[in-house]
């Protein structure tokens, strides 16, 4: 038993050295962010849901800490500590180390609560597609050098969805709402249904007599009106949320109710886009068709998608078997553009051996002064070793 564990660790160590060698060779500096991180950092990025999957604890000072559930956020933090909150210095980092996630029932061979990752992160405002292609090709190279064969690449691109949303004519606040709920598919569907079928329902449950008296063009008067309504009903405002905030929110509802609903064809268009799941080449054709048919200008995002694919092909990546899915990336809020993962048949689609993408908004969530262009990926080392072992059994 002890010998088998030693052998496994030895194998993981060798694999780690192989991968880091490739990343370092491409100019990625090896860093080792702390394993223990402030929980608030991750709570800001992930929200309270973090606690369902992460080892969060209090130290004797009462400070809330966690065992890092990934290495991307700690690497962002390290970058900001080195370069200040502006953080606008190009840098490329790589790492190898354990991360920790709670697994219900203790987990299994592909979902360990303590597992190793090798990864790379590029913070660079330079050519977007070139950076993305570099991160993906270095990841694929690392997998290949470790001995992986017969894997499949899956890609997605959230910026195409964002471009689609931008191209559809609607009030900016509705666009914001759809964008914000994108990463929670059920809430997104409910919001879309509300906007397309029943804007009047924006008033359901609200004091309609009061709303009828509010003038959206005079927020100050509306606030006074709301204040006297609350006073009449003996409803005392408590806490920090002010009457002005309540009044603004009522005004938004009032305006929503008077705005014509989005045509049903918009919901149809969005659903049709999200349903696209096809090999990359076929998906490209469908994206073009959809844009042309609806007369939508998503050219820039589509051009970037096509250019990236050309660069990937030029770099020797076989896109013939790669699959595009419009939904891909919806499960992880910090991705903002290109996303990818590598799956193998022996472990199935739910246990990728590597994954990554673009996350331009993450640095700001971690504390940076503004958005910082960022692309990264991680190799799930234990799964990779398992996949290679499974394949060698079949030989």
């Amino acid at each position: 038993m002890a010998q088998r564990i030693a052998e496994k660790l030895g194998r993981l160590d060798r694999q780690s050295a192989t991968i880091l060698n490739i990343f370092a060779g491409a100019g990625y500096e090896q860093v080792a962010p702390p394993i223990i991180q402030p929980a608030s950092l991750f709570l800001d990025v992930v929200g309270e849901q973090l606690r369902n999957r992460t080892y969060v604890f209090n130290d004797p000072d009462g400070e809330e800490l966690c065992l890092r559930p990934d290495l991307t956020v700690p690497t962002c933090r390290l970058h900001l500590e080195r370069h200040g909150l502006k953080g606008d210095v190009s840098a490329k980092y790589c790492y190898s180390g354990p991360v920790f996630r709670y697994q219900p029932g203790g987990g299994d061979a592909t979902h360990l609560r303590e597992f190793r990752q090798e990864g790379l992160e590029a913070f660079s405002p330079l050519d977007r597609e070139t950076t993305e292609v570099e991160v993906l090709t270095k990841t694929l190279e690392a997998l290949k050098a470790s001995g992986l064969k017969g894997s499949q690449l899956r890609v997605g691109d959230i910026s195409i969805f964002l471009a689609l949303l931008k191209a559809i004519d609607m009030p900016p606040r509705w666009r914001d709402r759809l964008r914000q709920s994108f990463w929670r598919p059920e809430a997104f569907r409910a919001e879309l249904k509300r906007l397309t079928s029943m804007p009047k329902a924006a008033l359901t449950g609200l004091p309609e007599d009061l709303i009828a008296r509010l003038d959206p063009n005079d927020p100050k008067a509306a606030e006074t009106e709301v204040a006297s309504y609350l006073a009449d009903k003996a409803l005392e405002p408590i806490g920090e949320r002010s009457i002005a905030e309540i009044s603004d929110s009522l005004l938004t509802a009032a305006v929503d109710a008077r705005t014509p609903a989005l045509p049903a064809s918009v919901a149809d268009l969005i659903e049709r886009y999200l349903a696209i799941a096809a090999p990359v080449r076929a998906a490209t054709a469908r994206l073009k068709d959809l844009a042309r048919e609806k007369g939508l200008d998503i050219g820039t995002a589509l051009d970037a998608f096509i250019r990236r694919n050309e660069l990937l092909t030029a770099a020797g990546v076989d896109l013939g078997k790669a699959e595009f899915s419009a939904e891909f990336g919806r499960n992880f809020e910090y991705y903002s553009g290109f996303v990818f993962e590598v799956v193998v048949p022996s472990l199935g689609p739910k246990s990728p051996v590597a994954g990554g993408g673009r996350y331009d908004g993450l640095m700001k969530a971690v504390g940076a002064a503004g958005s910082i262009a960022a692309v990264g990926a991680a190799v799930y080392s234990d799964r990779l070793a398992l996949a290679i072992e499974e394949a060698s059994k079949g030989d």
């Binding site: 309270e48 809430a187 609200l206 005392e236 806490g239 920090e240 009457i243």
Partner: protein, 231 residues
């Protein structure tokens, strides 16, 4: 050696009184063993049953760990304290006492917030305005997280509350609460209203799936269940 069935019953308050009445009415008088305020008991005529008097939340913990086979406790506590409780615990019978609703409570002055969807919109605007998340005071962290996630609400932070949760918004330590209420009077007195009911809870007779159930314990369970009119 014969193993005894461990029955965990509430050790204080209304829940204890109602539970003792339930067993007494079924011809199962529960007696404390040792001194009057002891934590162990037995049921007359059922030597294979050992009674443990503990707090309602401790009962949920013991059902979870399998230290107790059966227990009487609130569904709210089981849902909060036992992960995947629907799979881990068998609800044998709802007992029609210990009624309490787990609710989302917001300031009554928030006349613009009428659903969880509008709460999320208000929370997003609040974050933009104040540069921090809305805080939810609660001792039901797990229930809150899973309900809010189901409803698409994510822009909030939980503040653990150990008591007098209803007072948190007025004291300025949270913007809203998730708590139990029976009549809603306390909420009202604190300037709050019910936005949604997460769970309508009452006392339940529950069985542990984590406990070991040798034949003699099963037999004791069967006798208890028959006497309580459950089977």
């Amino acid at each position: 050696m014969t193993e005894r069935l461990v029955l965990a019953l509430p050790s204080k308050g209304r829940l204890m009184e109602e539970t003792e009445k339930l067993f007494a009415d079924a011809g199962l008088p529960v007696r404390r063993v040792g001194h009057a305020r002891g934590y162990r008991g037995e049921i007359e005529g059922l030597p294979n049953v050992e009674v443990a008097f503990v707090s309602a939340s401790e009962i949920a913990e013991r059902i979870k760990s399998g230290k107790a086979h059966l227990g009487v406790t609130g569904e709210d506590l089981v849902a909060e304290l036992v992960p995947a409780h629907r799979a881990a615990v068998t609800f044998l019978k709802a007992l029609s006492f210990g009624h309490a609703n787990v609710i989302v409570g917001i300031p009554a002055a928030w006349i613009d917030v009428v659903s969880m969807a509008s709460l999320e919109r208000a929370a997003v605007a609040f974050r933009r305005q104040h540069g921090r998340h809305m805080r939810v005071a609660t001792k039901y962290g797990r229930l809150t997280r899973s309900y809010f996630a189901d409803m698409g609400v994510s822009t909030y932070r939980i503040v653990p509350s150990l008591g007098a949760t209803e007072g948190a918004p007025a004291m300025g330590t949270a913007e809203l609460i998730v708590d139990i209420t029976t009549t809603g009077k306390t909420l009202e007195a604190n300037g709050l209203k019910v936005l949604e009911t997460i769970l309508k809870s009452e006392a339940n007779l529950v069985a542990s799936k984590a406990a070991t159930w040798p034949p003699e314990v099963r037999e004791a369970e069967n006798i208890l269940m028959k006497r309580l009119g459950i089977m």
